[in-house]
């Protein structure tokens, strides 16, 4: 089959451009954050180097996700869901324990996190179910959709990986909101969720409670958990309007935190590039998100729209939570900032999902023919 020229024409190039620019900004920032020779001789691994390699793999993954017609995913949705469930169960028995959590499967050449696959699966299954809903969801339908998400989320939270588990529910929740619910459901949730939230306190681990406490008052533990928040705010704040310049960040303590190239990477950015830099970065992210909305709008077929909406929420929540945490608006949770934080499989998944929405945008003309 010769490649239809329109396939290339309809690619949402601004989105692709944004993703690449954000990724390069991230690599540049990592270069600064991973530091070089310290006086006591500690030399951090050149993360930016590995990140670049992951980025290249991501571009390959993205291309793969653009090649096939995304509508085939409809038939693949349920098998993918069950494979995810199987792998998540497998983690319990064969998983590799790192930092006290069983999250990884050792594939020999790399460590694989089934929870990343689960995020993709929930997106596709969610899009498949929701695209068939003719009416806003009533309690029954809502329960069905949420139930599917809870199976995945529950298995992940058990690992324990609260962050990933909640993000599955939040992606699905976003997609449900995109679909819309009946007025009755909406009103009930509006009252019930805030009322039930305090109950979840009893299900949290101690360190998670601790994080919420320190968020509410960082000064209670200025040298422990609250330290990240204080230092992160100082780092960003001291950047001022113009910033301190590339590689000139001085927040020495931050430099010794392992998180400075992962979860707190944007703090390094804020210190070195100032308000000017952070505003540009924020605008880039918003423009990036907006392009996904455009794709959701223009997609031919609801399945494509819902896929795009799912990807939108996948990125949206991460940006909101990570930046909120670094800016001291949210408790510390281990969620990275897409493209800016160091992370191999995250980078790979990010690019694959970009490929998925580009796939939707490329094939928006196909239906007109039919």
């Amino acid at each position: 089959m010769p490649i239809d020229r329109r396939l290339l024409l309809y690619i949402n190039w601004p989105l692709l451009g944004m993703a690449v620019i954000l990724f390069l900004v991230g690599v540049l920032n990592l270069y600064s954050a991973s530091g070089f020779r310290l006086e006591e001789g500690m030399n951090l691994a050149p993360y930016y180097h590995r990140q670049l390699l992951w980025g290249l793999m991501g571009l390959i993954g993205m291309t793969v996700f653009m090649f096939f017609d995304y509508r085939h995913l409809k038939t693949l949705a349920w098998p993918l869901f069950w494979v995810s469930v199987a792998l998540l169960v497998a983690v319990f028995f064969m998983g590799k324990t790192i930092y006290g959590a069983r999250r990884w499967l050792d594939l020999g050449f790399m460590n694989f996190q089934p929870s990343e696959l689960a995020k993709i699966a929930v997106l596709i299954v969610g899009a498949r179910i929701l695209s068939r809903e003719r009416e806003p969801l009533d309690f029954l339908r809502l329960g069905y959709v949420l139930g599917v998400g809870l199976i995945l989320a529950g298995l992940i939270i058990k690992q324990p990986d609260l962050g990933s588990g909640l993000s599955i529910l939040m992606i699905l929740g976003g997609m449900i909101l995109f679909r819309g619910v009946t007025a009755r459901v909406f009103k009930t949730c509006l009252i019930a969720i805030p009322a039930l939230l305090p109950l979840s306190w009893f299900f949290l681990h101690d360190y998670q409670k601790q994080r919420i406490m320190t968020f509410l008052d960082p000064t209670t533990d200025p040298l422990g958990a609250g330290y990240h928040i204080i230092q992160s705010e100082i780092a960003i704040g001291s950047g001022g309007f113009w910033g301190k310049g590339f590689m000139e960040g001085t927040q020495s303590q931050l430099r010794f935190l392992p998180e400075r190239h992962t979860d707190f990477a944007v703090a390094v950015f804020g210190e070195e590039w100032g308000f000017v830099g952070t505003m540009i970065l924020l605008s880039l992210f918003c423009f990036f998100l907006y392009q996904i909305v455009i794709i959701a709008r223009d997609a031919r077929g609801l399945f494509g729209s819902y896929l795009a909406a799912g990807v939108f929420f996948y990125f949206f929540w991460q940006i909101l939570i990570n930046t909120g945490m670094v800016l001291g608006l949210m408790p510390v949770v281990g969620i990275p900032l897409p493209f800016i934080s160091y992370g191999g499989s995250a980078t790979l998944v990010n690019f694959c999902l970009i490929g998925l929405v580009l796939n939707v945008s490329m094939r928006r003309f196909l239906f007109k023919q039919g």
Binding site: E39, F178, T250
Partner: protein, 633 residues
Amino acid sequence: MPDLYNEADQQPPRTGLLLLQALILGLFCLFAVRLWYLQIHRGEEYALKARENQLRQESIFSPRGLIRDRNGDLLAVNEPAYALGLVREDCPDIDKAMHQIAAWTGRDFFELKAFYNKNKKRVKPFEPLILIPDLSFGQLALIETNKLRWPGLEIQFRPRRLYRYGTLLAHVLGYVAEANEEELEKNPELALGDYVGKQGIEFMLEDRMRGAKGLAQYEVDVNGRRLKERILKHPRAGHEISLSIDLGLQKLAMDWLDEEAGGVAVMDADTGQLWALATAPSYDSNDFSSGLTPEQWARLRDNPLHPMQNRVIQSVYPPGSIFKHVVAGAGLHYNMLDPKETVLCTGATRLGRRVFRCWRKGGHGNVDMERALVESCDVYFYKQGKKLTVDRLAEFAQAVGFGHKTGIRLPHEKAGNIPTREWKLKRFGESWQGGDNLNMSIGQGYTLVTPLQVARFFAGIVNGGKLLKPLLLKDAKTEVQAEIPLSQAQIELLHRALVQTVENNRGTCRRLRTKGVTVGGKTGTAQVVRLTDELKELKDDDIPYRFRDHGWMAATAEKDGKRFAIAVLVEHGLHGGSGAGPVVKAVIDYLFTGEVRLKPEERKAKARAVRALSLKKRKAPAANGKKEKPGAH
């Protein structure tokens, strides 16, 4: 797939699209406001906090392992040194501070500035970049009193290496110096300005001696002044090293080599430990560790006597007559030499049209193996060497360790050379000649050895055949590298010949006789040039320094179960007996009686005069320089 088309007609929910756009707007507004609040509204305040509330980390230097001699005398120690560093983040006006540093220390401002610009990226903004590694006490006092007026300047304390006998052991200890770019790249534990071993033991045992730096954390105020300090990691001191070297003996050997060029190796024949490894002329390790000036370096580099050369392991010489023991050993090994068989020495032998002379003009008469060794008869060995041929000579010489590195733990050791037919063909494009055989059998020609190889071989003769790895550390394990392929009786024959060379009134090493000690010896003369008739007519004293032959002496000494082998080479020392002999004798006296007999002043004066004369002549264009044989050493 009807289902596909069915949903394709539907438009995405409009409320949903609006929701997504509203979320983007909300995200933007929320973070824009927060960023404005943090970076603009409270920016100044945070900037101040960033400077105030800083925790910094600093290395605590670990002392390098001390080096002692075998009796515990300290050879290399650490002394405090003070360095001046600049923290660029704390320094309001770097140029002004540099001008001040230049004024305090007398250094050139532009040099300092260039150094700063080149290296500033190597340290973090809040870490000191060392500008002056070594402040004098005057400078230290001056800067310390004015420091408060100069924020950003920091005095750092760090240990500095001091060699208590700078020139005495330079070639053994080597030296430390600031790590260069390559070393910094290779080892992430090193930081700019750190000292690492570059030569000798300091280089070879770097990992054992360096230790590990500690880490301290401290808070600083706005001006970079320290407030609280806490140790995060204690430094670990480097391991102490005890050399096998005997300081007294080393001193004695160096004294005897004073004003000469040459080397002395003294090996414990039972353990392989070296009690002295002296080479002259030498350099001062301290010059290198405190940073060599270009003038100092030029002087070392251009010195015609090459003080950087370790003559015991890095210089190779023809072994001369001391090789006769190898030839005799080869004859015994291949059963081609009956020790009782005599050869008539008439003072010369003929090969084709060429005449090969014995050193003794009148000849030795009928000599057997022992007498040939004792009196060093050349004609006897010409004949034996011709019979044995190069193949067997080379094989045996290699088997007793010549032509191979000894494996001593010092860098850049040379292997020397044992010629073979193939080697000559490859090297010169000529086939092996009968005359080459004769030259080889008296240790001249292409055979090249290091003094350390000689000491190892002679230690093998006195210890019953064990070829030991030369060791420099007192606690090193004795390692037998090979056995001399001879029976005990045959080795005893060689040893007896050595002892007779000292004891017999016709022996060439009579000067080594020491009461109560079984001393054996062998002299050797390594020809530097093929003597022309013109030179032959000259008396020894009139031969120009650089045409004089190198003098060898190898010796063994044994008393009460203590056994040593000694190898001495004096470059251009004319004869082994007179050039190297007194050195060996002094060493033996020291080893067994403890007597320290230094080199007589008139001998030093004479050596000085000879060398001064030759250096002067060297400067004039060498008219007869072609006589010098290439590759002699």
